[in-house]
Amino acid sequence: MSMDEPDTRRRLDDMAQGLIGKPLDRTEGHLKVSGTATYAHEWAVADQAYGVLVRAPFAKGKILSIDKAAVLAMDGVLAVIDDDRLLRNPAQGTANEAPVQGAKDVVYLGQPIALVVAESFEGARHGAQSLSIEYDADESVAIDPEASDAQTEKPDEKQFSQGDVDQAMQEAAFTVDQVYRTPGHNSAAMEPHCAIAQWEENQLTLYGSYQMLKYNRNELADSLGIDAEQVRIISRYVGGGFGSKLGIAPEAVAAAIAAKELQRAVCVTLSRQQVFEAVMRRSETRQHFQLAADKDGVLTGLSHVSLVSNLPDETFAEPVGQATHFIYGGENRRIGLEVARLNKTCAGSVRAPGEAVGVTALENAMDELAEAAGIDPLELRLLNIPEKDPEQDVSFSSRKFRQALKQGAEAFGWEKRQPVPGQVREGEWLIGMGMASAARVNVLMQSEAKVTLSADGSVIVETDMTDIGTGSYTILTQIAGEMLGVPMNRVETRLGDTDLPSASGSGGSWGASSSGSSVFLACEDLREQLCRKLDCQSADLTLKDGQAIVRNRSHDLVELLGGESLQAVGIIEPGETSENVRQATFGAHFAEVAVNATTGETRVQRMLGVFSAGRILNEKTARSQCYGGMIFGIGMALTEELLHDPRDGHIVNRDLGEYHVPVNLDVPQLDVILLDERDDHASPIQAKGIGELGICGAAAAVVNAIYNASGARVREYPATLDKILPYLD
């Protein structure tokens, strides 16, 4: 089915099993809490050898030679591989082809240049650490995107202009003209990347940790120079992704090459340091905002021009202004993006690429505009919600943006906020409140699933969708159970295997709505098949607890099947509703912080997120996703920053000791309100994405609260105490 028309039938609302939307426990929960869910490294593949990647110890230049002999002579070492097919960096999300390959030309410090394989992990690690290389280093290393000699590009398709922002600024009653900067971030998923490669003749099975298997399979095949049919990837459980596992990564290709060469299975795991250096970072950004408003605070002009970075030859550029296009009105608009080419770890998707940093800085600028105009920050947002997409003549699909702002303000007690900073003090702590809007584009992707209604009345859902902690196992089980009227424990959902029908994969928040729709469509088909047996219309068929009820008569499903199993395939594809309406998710963040008046340390005391994201499929897992996004926001606001050496650009804080993701004590008890909504344009299940919405703007609420508490206006993230100290008495 192509999503060309809004599906106003809202079929899930008619079902009787009562599973959809409920806060049900995760179906795989018992496996995860008992340590029996199988992650990539844990497959019992016989006779594995272990490989460890070797990093380039310099930022730019050429590898001249590698002293393989000395390492090969070490106890237990089996191979030293510097094949030209090794990946320079992972593939970008949905690339569907090999990324840049080659182990001789080095463009960043930490680039994988060889793999040492040994009988044991300990042997391989020491071999990798001992590998002596000769290289020719090029001193002209580019590190700072803002350097006067930085090489930058301005892709035409990433520049937008409407009206005259400069004139709007001149004529405005109130303006903001400020630059905000966000540093690089690391996804820091808890499971480091890992791949076990095993060949049988010319068939490769790769047990890995990836988010989008249908693309990953093509990327891996292309990297190795083989057909996709020769590759099977299995990722039953993925220990977190957040963008870092979207594309095939260096460990997979290295493991596959080594396994072929050695004729035995090879397991390659990245160290935590390698996850920082050789996977993906979120680009640093420089964001220049110009906001122009009339005397009532209504925007007349809005300019958001950003500078980001990436390696040479990478097409991905952090889409900073993605949501700036549609959150707020304003006649005169300019949204631009420039990319600097640097010798730093590859930039790619990290949770909510674009909005995570773009909405955040926009919401800081809006806070400044509110102050300049003397309008409450909440009121300013409400005043500037556009009726239609401000740049195209299209409506919004569904959008409870206004409600999110209002309901959030009420639930949070926003009216207690003191408009003048620095007014509330509790002992040594300065207390303040901040808020921000949340927005994230919504996308539907092609996805396919097969659903089997077995003769015994149980159901099997099969698709190569992944569950990276998002709850895919659970929501797909719920959808199938709801549509076919069977309880959760009668549905088995099989995911994470390219032998199964190709799904959208997990990324861009599209997983639940896309793969969920495919399961829904397959179930609709099965319902039709049952209707034919019962000679009724689907609308007249009620399926509940293994009973088919038609015209007040109940039929046992097993009897009805009569020993036969039914099967159907559902395929969803994006269609015209992707173009003829503006689809996005919205929300509002509210934060209360305490800033220490002596030291400038900030602690978040309360936080509330209100989200409007279409139908909520499982209230429990959706809420957890929102918590996760908001806590990413706390990290962004207060501590997370990739620090690069100013000479060679390497990430100096390349571990979890010095790259500070939030710990439990950094996080207060959070509140999340999920608004009841159906988006008929988004998908036949009326759901949109929610995995990333929680991070979009969250950090701004915290940083705006810091200003309200202390008067410290921090425009360079993160708001560490050194940036707050100068404002304190």
């Binding site: 808890m190 499971e191 957890s624 004590l665």
Partner: protein, 168 residues
């Protein structure tokens, strides 16, 4: 290679390991107890938390050979998928995880942490160093701060632990 005996989850295992093998790698690669996870290998994430002689430690930062004769409890020893411990059940109920990778470490840590509170150990956020520590969300959050969760299930983890702590 060195040989040693480990008492893991009540069973004695004799194994022969490279002296460099950490307790974590011995559990995963030699005993195939994969519940204990490797998140950072440097004591910076807590995913590898196990109980050694009843105390929680990071199994990545200790050598297997240092534990000859020690009693080790891993997540598998706390409860299997159909014999969940109260803490494991509470994590499911409160959704104290998402991807599940840090989860065994969180649960081992939480289990041992409640014993530390019972023994009266103070924490950095305890208002007073003397007297019995209380089971507040701040106390739990501080004591669980050695277990990172990037999915950020922290609020749910705290809820799960409070439920178990209140009952015991």
């Amino acid at each position: 290679m060195q040989t040693l005996n480990l008492q893991v989850n009540g069973e004695t295992h004799e194994l022969s390991v490279d002296v460099r093998t950490t307790l974590l790698d011995a559990l995963r690669q030699h005993l195939h107890l994969n519940g204990t996870k490797k998140g950072c290998d440097h004591g910076q994430c807590g995913a590898c938390t196990v109980l050694v002689n009843g105390k929680r430690i990071n199994s990545c930062l200790t050598l297997a050979v240092m534990h000859d004769g020690d009693e080790i409890t891993t997540i598998e020893g706390l409860g299997g998928s159909d014999t969940l411990s109260p803490m494991q059940k509470a994590f499911v109920k409160h959704d104290g995880f998402q991807c599940g990778y840090c989860t065994p470490g969180q649960i081992c840590s939480a289990t041992a942490m409640l014993d530390e509170i019972k023994e009266g150990w103070p924490s950095y956020v305890s208002v007073s160093l003397v007297g019995e520590p209380e089971l507040t969300s701040d106390e739990i959050a501080e004591r669980m701060s050695g277990n990172l969760c990037r999915c950020s299930a922290y609020p749910n983890i705290v809820d799960a632990i409070i439920e178990v702590g209140d009952k015991s």
